[in-house]
C-alpha cells in the first residue's frame, strides 16, 4: 500500500516519460481552459466586486449562440460576429437590469443574483437553441483540427492536438490583450481605478455603469473563447456548466483579483488533478477528478486563506 502511494507512481513517471509528458500536456490544456473561465470571474470581480457565478453558463451560452446561429444557416464568421454582438447586448442588459439596481448590496446578495442569472440563461439558451448538445463548428471557424505526434524515446509517442495548441495560443493572446487593455488604454486605467476604490473613481468622473458594462462584455468575450475551445474538445451543452465550477478552486488558489493568479491557479489545478488522477486515482477506484480540485483548494485555504498572491488579511474593528 505504502509502496503504491509513495514509490510506484514515481517509478511509472520515470519508466514512461513519454506518457508523463502527455499527462503534463493534458494537464496544461485543461489548466488553460480552467484559467480562461477563471479569467472571466476575475475581470468582473476586479471591477465590481461581484462574484459572477454565471461565468460558467456564459461560456455555454456563448458557444451555444455561435453554433445555434450557424445551424440556422448563418455563415461561421458572421455567426461569430453576431455572437460577439449578442454578448455585448447581454453585458449591457445585465449591467442595466441586474447590477445597477443592486449596487452596494452585500457580496452574498450579488452572488445569489448571479446564480439567478445562471438559471435564467440556462432556460433562455435552451428555449431558443434546444436542449440537445451541439457540435462545435471548429473547422468552419478555421480552427485547426487533427493532431501531430512526436516520437519520443524508443517507442514513446506524445500526441498534441492542434486545437489544444490553438487554445493555448489564444489564451496567451487574450491575456496579453487584456494586459495591454488594462495598462495602456484610458478605459483600462479607469477600470483599475474602479477596482481600487469605487467612490474615488466616481469622484474623478468615471462612469461606473459604463465600466461595468465593458467588463461584463470583456468577460463575455473570454466566455466565448472558452466556449469555442471547450466545445471543440467535447460538445456544447449545458452539462459543461458543472466543469465551469472548477474555476472556483482555481480562484481560491490564485486570488480573486489577480489575472496572473488565475492563470497560475488554473495550471496548478490542471496539472494537479491530471497527475493525481492518473498516478494515484487508481488506488481509490478512479474518478477523483470530480472533487480533487476542491479538496486541494480547501486544504490550501486552511493554511493560506488569502490565496497565493493575496496579502495577509488584517482584520480591523
Amino acid at each position: 500500500m505504502l509502496y503504491d502511494i509513495f514509490v510506484d507512481p514515481f517509478v511509472q513517471m520515470y519508466q514512461m516519460p513519454d506518457f508523463f509528458l502527455q499527462v503534463l500536456w493534458e494537464g496544461f490544456v485543461a489548466g488553460i481552459l480552467y484559467a480562461l473561465i477563471a479569467l472571466g470571474f476575475v475581470l468582473i470581480f476586479k471591477a465590481s466586486g461581484v462574484f459572477n457565478f454565471a461565468q460558467g453558463i456564459m461560456v455555454v451560452f456563448a458557444g451555444l449562440t455561435l453554433v445555434g446561429l450557424h445551424e440556422n444557416g448563418v455563415p461561421a464568421y458572421l455567426a461569430l460576429i453576431l455572437t460577439i454582438g449578442v454578448m455585448a447586448v447581454l453585458a449591457y442588459g445585465i449591467e442595466r437590469i441586474v447590477m445597477r439596481p443592486l449596487v452596494n448590496q452585500p457580496d452574498i446578495i450579488l452572488l445569489m443574483a448571479t446564480i439567478g442569472l445562471t438559471y435564467f440563461l440556462i432556460g433562455f439558451g435552451e428555449l431558443i437553441f434546444g436542449g440537445e448538445p451541439k457540435r462545435m463548428i471548429t473547422e468552419e471557424l478555421g480552427l485547426p483540427t487533427g493532431s501531430t505526434a512526436f516520437e519520443f524515446g524508443e517507442r514513446g509517442l506524445v500526441i498534441l492536438q492542434h486545437i489544444d495548441i490553438a487554445a493555448a495560443v489564444i489564451a496567451i493572446l487574450m491575456v496579453g490583450a487584456l494586459a495591454v487593455f488594462f495598462n495602456k488604454t484610458r478605459i483600462g486605467r479607469a477600470l483599475r481605478a474602479v477596482a481600487d476604490d469605487h467612490q474615488a473613481a466616481l469622484s474623478v468622473g468615471i462612469s461606473l455603469n459604463q465600466i461595468w458594462a465593458i467588463v461584463w462584455f470583456a468577460a463575455g468575450l473570454v466566455a466565448l473563447a472558452t466556449g469555442i475551445m471547450w466545445g471543440a474538445r467535447s460538445d456544447v451543452s449545458f452539462a459543461l456548466e458543472i466543469i465551469a465550477f472548477k474555476a472556483l478552486p482555481v480562484l481560491i488558489l490564485g486570488g480573486f483579483t489577480s489575472i496572473p493568479g488565475a492563470i497560475i491557479g488554473g495550471l496548478i489545478i490542471g496539472f494537479g488533478e491530471k497527475i493525481a488522477e492518473l498516478y494515484w486515482g487508481g488506488l481509490v477506484g478512479g474518478g477523483i477528478e470530480s472533487w480533487f480540485a476542491y479538496i486541494i483548494a480547501l486544504i490550501f485555504l486552511l493554511f493560506r486563506p488569502q490565496g497565493l498572491f493575496g496579502e495577509k488579511i488584517i482584520e480591523r474593528v
Binding site: V29, G130, L278, S290
Partner: protein, 443 residues
C-alpha cells in the same frame, strides 16, 4: 420572533394555488387507450433523449393517423418531461397514473427503480426496453416489469462473444486486456459483475474506467489511462453527452476504433459523428433496424412528419435512436393488440396490458405485416422470461452512417440466466417482504 408566524401564508399558498391549477384532469375519454410517455428533451441527456422521444411519439401517432389507433381504438398519447430527473419522474408518474395509464417507459434507470415496486401495487406494468434492472427479466419475481428484448448482461456477454470471435474463440481471450469505460452510475456499474465473472472464466483482464456523471465532458484522464494500459478492446456503457466526448477522446489518443465497442445506448449517429471520419470503425450493439427502408417508417414520414404533426427533424428518421424509439412503441402497440385479443376488450387497463405484454409474440411474419420486416429480432415473452428475445447485432460507423456488420449474435444465456435469477432473488430479499407472484400465467 415571528418567524413561524409566516408559514401561515405558505400552506395557504400551496393549497390555494395548486388546488386550482393541478386538480387532476378528468380521466381520458372512455374510447381511447392512454399511453403516457416519460421523455426528456432537456437536461444533460437530452441529446439522446430527444430522438427516442420523437420515435416513440411518431409511431403511435402514425398508428392513429393510418389505422385510427389499435383495434379501432385511438391511442391517447401524452408526453411528460422528466429531464432524466428522479423528482420529476415520480411526479410524471403520479400525474398520469390516475388517467388510466397502460404502461410506463421511464428511460432512466433511476426512475425505473422507483417504479418497479409501485408497478404491482398500482397494477400498471413497466416496460424498460433494454435498460433498467437486468434482473427484471425474471418474470417469476417481477411479473409487472418487462425489459424486452434484452438485458445489459446479455449485451455485455454479446460483446465478449464478438471479441472472442474476432480473436478466434473464447479460449484465445486468455491474457487479453479488455477495457470497460462507463458512466459512473447504476447504469454503467450494472454489467460489471458479469464482466468480472467472464474475465475470471476466460482469463482476460478487465480494466475499469469510470466516468463521473459530472465529468462526462472532461474524459481526458480516463483516456490517458486507456493509453497507458493499452487494452486490446474497449467496451463503453455511455449515455448522453458522455458518448461523443468518449469517441472524440478515443480518436485523440489514436485508439484503434475497430476495437472500440459501445452498448446500444452509445449507438447514436450524433455520438459517432463527433469523431467524424476518424471514428470510422467504431462499433456499437443494436437491436433495432438501421435506416428507413421500412414501410412503417415511410408511413411515419408521410403521415406524421411531413404533415407537420411532430417536432421531428425529417433527417433524423431512420437514425439509430429514433428507430429505437419506434421499436419501443411497436412493443407497446403489439402489447395492446395482444391484450385486446386475449381479453376481448377494445379499451384495456394496465392489468390487461400486463397480460398482453407477457403474451407478446412478435414473429418475423408479424413484423413484416406491420411494415417492419427485419426491423428487430423476433420476440417471444414468456412468464419466466420477460426479456423475450436476447440476440443483438453489431453495427459499425463508416464515417458517415452506421452499417450493420454482423448477424444477430446470441448472448451467453448459460452464464447470464443464473446471474439474473440470483440478482432477482437478491433484490427480493433486500426488499423483503417482496410480494410473491400471484398473477396467473396466461400461456
Amino acid at each position: 420572533m415571528k418567524h413561524l408566524k409566516t408559514w401561515a401564508c405558505a400552506t395557504a399558498l400551496a393549497v390555494g394555488v395548486t388546488a386550482g391549477a393541478v386538480a387532476p384532469q378528468p380521466a381520458q375519454a372512455q374510447d381511447t387507450n392512454y399511453v403516457p410517455l416519460l421523455t426528456y428533451r432537456t437536461g444533460p441527456f437530452a441529446g439522446s433523449g430527444i430522438h427516442i422521444a420523437n420515435g416513440m411519439n411518431d409511431y403511435l401517432q402514425m398508428l392513429n393517423e393510418r389505422d385510427g389507433g389499435i383495434g379501432g381504438v385511438p391511442i391517447a398519447i401524452e408526453e411528460c418531461e422528466t429531464s432524466y430527473n428522479a423528482q420529476k419522474g415520480v411526479e410524471c408518474y403520479e400525474a398520469t397514473k390516475g388517467k388510466g395509464a397502460l404502461v410506463y417507459n421511464p428511460y432512466s434507470t433511476g426512475i425505473t427503480l422507483q417504479l418497479i415496486p409501485k408497478a404491482s401495487v398500482d397494477k400498471i406494468p413497466v416496460l424498460s426496453m433494454g435498460y433498467g434492472l437486468s434482473a427484471a427479466a425474471v418474470g417469476d419475481v417481477f411479473p409487472w416489469v418487462f425489459n424486452v428484448p434484452v438485458t445489459y448482461w446479455d449485451g455485455a456477454s454479446v460483446v465478449i462473444n464478438y471479441i472472442a470471435d474476432q480473436e478466434g474463440g473464447l479460449d484465445s481471450l486468455s491474457g487479453k486486456k479488455i477495457g470497460y469505460i462507463f458512466l459512473d452510475a447504476g447504469y454503467g456499474r450494472e454489467p460489471i459483475p458479469l464482466l468480472e465473472q467472464l474475465a475470471e472464466k476466460h482469463g482476460f483482464e478487465l480494466l475499469q474506467y469510470p466516468v463521473p456523471a459530472n465529468q462526462m465532458q472532461n474524459q481526458s484522464s480516463q483516456w490517458l489511462n486507456v493509453r497507458r494500459d493499452r487494452p486490446d478492446y474497449m467496451i463503453m456503457w455511455g449515455w448522453g453527452a458522455m458518448n461523443p466526448t468518449a469517441i472524440k477522446e478515443a480518436v485523440k489518443i489514436r485508439y484503434p476504433m475497430d476495437k472500440f465497442i459501445g452498448v446500444w445506448w452509445s449507438a447514436g449517429e450524433d455520438d459517432a459523428a463527433a469523431g467524424g471520419q476518424d471514428a470510422a470503425g467504431y462499433k456499437a450493439l443494436n437491436f433495432s433496424g438501421v435506416g428507413m427502408d421500412f414501410p412503417a417508417l415511410q408511413d411515419i414520414k408521410t403521415l406524421v412528419v411531413d404533415a407537420g404533426k411532430t417536432q421531428t427533424d425529417p433527417a433524423s428518421i431512420g437514425t439509430t435512436l429514433y428507430n429505437r424509439g419506434v421499436l419501443n412503441s411497436v412493443i407497446i402497440a403489439e402489447g395492446i393488440r395482444t391484450a385486446q385479443e386475449l381479453t376481448g376488450k377494445k379499451v384495456i387497463t394496465g392489468e390487461d396490458m400486463r397480460v398482453g405484454l407477457e403474451a407478446l409474440n412478435l414473429t418475423q411474419e408479424r413484423l413484416a405485416e406491420i411494415g417492419l420486416a427485419g426491423f428487430a429480432h423476433p420476440m417471444k415473452v414468456t412468464c419466466e422470461d420477460h426479456a423475450g428475445s436476447h440476440p443483438v447485432f453489431i453495427q459499425e460507423w463508416d464515417g458517415e452512417r452506421f452499417v450493420k456488420v454482423t448477424d444477430w449474435i446470441e448472448p451467453m444465456t448459460d452464464v447470464v440466466r443464473p446471474l439474473l435469477e440470483a440478482a432477482a432473488a437478491d433484490y427480493a430479499e433486500k426488499n423483503a417482504p417482496w410480494p410473491e407472484r400471484t398473477e396467473a400465467c396466461a400461456q
